[in-house]
């Protein structure tokens, strides 16, 4: 099947860079020129025809096809083996509960957090240890970037265009991490969210920037988790009080204290559900007296239910750190977890 995209002829790789930058087709960084061979290799790896419709962004009635997504994935630096993850992430983002248009156009300036689980992490070399929320490895870097380029180019989510973010955050370049499933006894995130453990999966969440915490002066689970809960309360006071999905990133040092005490992810979520709460009146302490009104004693929970918490084991082995990743806007957008349908062991057909 021929590709549908318009083709441009450029003199060399430098001319290609200028063409893409000049047209507003990049995130400001250099791109890999998307040639037909490279794009077809991605589609073949995912066993997906170019005209496959992944879905339609319903607010602006924009279709997303596999071909256009593959072009953007190549530009981001993806290898063919990365493409099934990108494809699944976009499919998840197109679920109604994700509220794709709102999440990508809002002044709130969130990014799409992507969490990888299951065997595909190891096949891609996706690291969930050192620098897990930064530039940890090639796979997570290019997968996260592919999502941003696809938003920019397919859905026109450009700053000042559809993207109305006041500030945005650095995760809008790439915001992808793998869970460190090898170094924990906890159930992986995708199992917590109802998928079989042997499945590879992608979870997407419309997310603010990570808020790092530190507590290396205790081994008591309640004290460790109180620091996380306090950071969530700070987010509720300083940013948004509304309940939604929160992610906790718990690196190995703190994780081992929790695991040694027999705490599961469900125990953590139950504790956080009980502790991450504020009264509306607390807004008066942080300059927001004007919106307390007559509801000062009304209590707000960060989580509508414990299962709204995404607990992810990730991070380097040393350091009493952790991170709270807040939702874009309460429960307006819900995290979505989908299994990766393509056989990543198989390679392209006929080989």
């Amino acid at each position: 099947m021929p590709l549908a995209a318009k083709t441009y002829t450029v003199a060399d790789i430098h001319a290609a860079q200028e063409l893409y930058h000049a047209n507003g087709w990049t995130d400001g960084l250099p791109i890999v020129p998307p040639t037909e061979d490279a794009v077809r290799a991605c589609l073949d790896w995912a066993m997906t025809p170019p005209d496959q419709l992944l879905g339609i962004e319903t607010v602006r009635a924009v279709p997303i096809t596999a071909e256009k997504l593959a072009i953007n994935a190549v530009m981001a630096g993806c290898l063919p083996m990365h493409f099934p993850v990108v494809l699944t992430a976009v499919t998840a983002m197109l679920r109604p509960e994700f509220l794709l248009h709102g999440a990508t156009s809002s002044t709130g300036g969130c990014a799409v957090l992507i969490v990888l689980n299951g065997p595909i992490r190891r096949e891609l070399g996706a690291g969930g240890t050192f620098n897990a929320l930064g530039n940890s490895d090639r796979a997570t870097a290019v997968i996260g970037r592919a999502i941003r380029l696809a938003l920019i180019n397919i859905l026109e989510v450009r700053p000042g265009g559809i993207d109305r973010s006041t500030l945005g955050h650095p995760g809008k370049f790439s915001y992808c991490l793998a869970e460190d499933e090898e170094d924990t006894a906890w159930n992986p995130l995708h199992v917590q969210r109802g998928l079989p453990g042997e499945t590879s999966a992608v979870t997407v969440m419309a997310a603010g920037a990570p808020r790092q915490i530190m507590n290396e002066w205790t081994t008591a689970p309640e004290e460790i988790l109180e620091t996380f809960a306090a950071e969530m309360r700070a987010n509720m006071r300083h940013y948004s009080i509304w309940a939604g999905n929160y992610a906790l990133i718990i690196p190995r040092q703190l994780r081992e204290h929790l695991q040694a005490a027999g705490w599961s992810k469900a125990d953590i979520a139950a504790f956080i559900h009980a502790r991450a709460r504020v009264r509306r009146g607390e807004w008066a302490e942080v300059g927001k007296r004007a919106v307390v009104r007559d509801q000062a004693d009304t209590e707000y929970a960060a989580l509508e239910a414990p299962d709204r918490l995404l607990v992810v084991a990730a991070g380097g082995p040393a350091g009493g750190f952790g991170a709270v990743i807040p939702p874009w806007l309460g429960n307006k957008s819900a995290a979505v977890t989908l299994p990766i349908g393509a056989c990543v062991d198989c390679g392209p057909p006929g080989q």
Binding site: P33, N72, I154
Partner: protein, 93 residues
């Protein structure tokens, strides 16, 4: 080395609706406001309501608020606006 590279954009413009005929005057008309519900809309739409009635002779102003300020208007609001002669919608942060 000469390269053949592909267009990463959607290439097809999203469908756009046909604009309704412009009104010659707002006098005597029903004008709906669709607010996103944010704090800043309260004062803005109150002022606009007064201007339309007092300065332009609008007969009726109907105010509706979306249930989710980051999503399209609820279907019942969209259905209702067929009965209005003009609509003002906008964001208010």
């Amino acid at each position: 080395m000469v390269l053949q590279v592909l267009d990463p954009t959607n290439e097809t413009a999203p469908p756009v609706g046909q604009p309704a005929p412009r009104l010659a005057s707002l006098a005597g008309k029903a004008v709906g406001f669709i607010s996103n519900g944010k704090e800043g809309t309260t004062g803005f739409f109150a002022h606009l309501d007064r201007m339309l009635r007092e300065e332009l002779g609008v007969a009726e102003v109907i105010r509706r608020v979306k249930s989710n300020y980051s999503a399209p208007a609820n279907p019942d609001i969209v259905d209702e606006l067929r009965r209005w002669q003009a609509v003002v919608t906008g964001i208010g942060d």
